[in-house]
Symmetry: C2
Subunit: 183 residues, 2 copies
Amino acid sequence: MGFWKTWFSTSEANSTTRTTPSEEYAVETVGNSDLNGVGEVHQQETRIVFSTERDLDLYELEELCDSVGWSRRPLRKVKKAIEHSFLVASMWQVRGNKRRLIGFARATSDHAFNATIWDVVVHPDFQAKGLGKALMKYVLKKLRSEEISNVTLFADPHVLDFYRGLGFMSDPEGIKGMFWYPH
Amino acid sequence: MGFWKTWFSTSEANSTTRTTPSEEYAVETVGNSDLNGVGEVHQQETRIVFSTERDLDLYELEELCDSVGWSRRPLRKVKKAIEHSFLVASMWQVRGNKRRLIGFARATSDHAFNATIWDVVVHPDFQAKGLGKALMKYVLKKLRSEEISNVTLFADPHVLDFYRGLGFMSDPEGIKGMFWYPH
Ligand SMILES: CC(C)(COP(=O)(O)OP(=O)(O)OC[C@H]1O[C@@H](n2cnc3c(N)ncnc32)[C@H](O)[C@@H]1OP(=O)(O)O)[C@@H](O)C(=O)NCCC(=O)NCCS
Ligand SMILES: CC(C)(COP(=O)(O)OP(=O)(O)OC[C@H]1O[C@@H](n2cnc3c(N)ncnc32)[C@H](O)[C@@H]1OP(=O)(O)O)[C@@H](O)C(=O)NCCC(=O)NCCS
C-alpha cells in the first residue's frame, strides 16, 4: 500500500501547484490489447496516470532518459533542477499495485508571464500511441491553470511537427530561439 | 544616505545569488561629455552601476519599459515575476547621490542546467553606447558563476545581431524556439 500512499499525497516540495490532491492527476484507461493475459483468470487493467508529484526516483528517471539516448547528467543537478522547476509532470503505467515511469516533462517559469518546457520524453515502448500528446496536454492544462500566458520551448528539428500538432508555433513574427554556451 | 544604504545592502529576497554584497555590482566610469557642467565648479562624475538587487521601484521599471514602447503589464504580476526570476539585473546611472534606472534584464532558471533571459531593455537615451552589451555581459557573468550551462532567450528579429555579437546562436543544429498561447 506504500505506493498508493505516496501516490495520493500532495507533494510538500511543490509550492507552485495550488490544486487539491484529487486534481493532481488525471486517469485515462487505455486499450490493454498488448497485455499478456495468458494464465491469468482476471486480466489486469492497465491505466495511464499523470502526476505533478516531485518525489521521483531519480534512477527511474535516468533510465527513462537513457531509453531515448539522452546523455547522462549528474543526479545532484537533476535533483536541483526538479526542485527549482515550476512544474514537474510524470506519466505512469499502472497495473494493479505496480507502476512504471513512462513519460516526463518539466517547465521553468517566472510564475507570472512565461513558462519554458524542458525534457519532454516518452519511453520508446509507449511512443506513437498518443501518450506524448496526452502528457503535453496535461502540462499545458496545468500551466494554464496558473495563468501563464506565454508557454515556450526549444524543439529539436525531428519533433517540430509533434509540437505543431499541439498548437505550438515556431518563430512567430520572426522571434528566434537563441543559445549561448559558456566558453 | 538612504539610497546608499539600500544600494550596498544584500537583498534578502534574492535566494539564488550566493555572492557577497561587494560582488553584487560592478562599476564602470563612462565619458561624461554629455554632462551639463555649466555653472558647476566641480563637474560631477557619472558612473554606470550594475546590480542584482530585487527591491526595485516598480513604477520606475514601468517607466523604463514604457520608454521602449512595451505594453503595460499589471504591477502585481511584474512583482511576482521578479520574485520568481532566478536573476534580476538592473543598470543605473549614478551622479552624486542621484540614481536613475536605465537598463533591466531578468532570467528564469531551473538553477542547474538552463536559464532563459527575458525583458532586456536599455533606455533610448542610453542606447547605442555599448551599455546593452555591458548589461548582457553582466548577466552572463552572473549565470556562469552559478554553473548554468545553457543560456537561452527569444529574440525579436531586429535584435538578432545584438545577441549574435554577444555569442548567442540562433537555431543551433536546427533547434527552434516555439510558442503556445492559451486559447
Ligand atoms: C517526441 C515524443 C515525446 C512524442 O511522444 P509520442 O508519445 O511518441 O507522441 P504521440 O504518439 O502522442 O504523437 C502525437 C502526434 O505527434 C506526431 N508525432 C509524434 N512524434 C513525432 C515526430 N517525431 N515527428 C513528427 N510527428 C510526430 C504523431 O504522429 C501524432 O500525430 P497525430 O496527432 O496527427 O496522430 C517522443 O517521441 C519522445 O520521447 N522522443 C524522444 C525524446 C525527444 O526527442 N523529445 C523531444 C526533445 S525536444
Ligand atoms: C536591444 C538593446 C537592449 C540594445 O542595447 P544598446 O545599449 O542599444 O546596445 P549596445 O550599444 O550595447 O550595442 C552592442 C552591439 O550590438 C549592436 N546593436 C545594438 N542594437 C542593435 C540592433 N537593434 N540591431 C543590431 N545590432 C544592434 C550594436 O551596433 C553594437 O555592436 P558593436 O559591439 O559591434 O558595436 C536596446 O536597443 C533596447 O533596449 N531596445 C529596445 C528593447 C528591445 O528590443 N529589447 C530586446 C527584446 S528581444
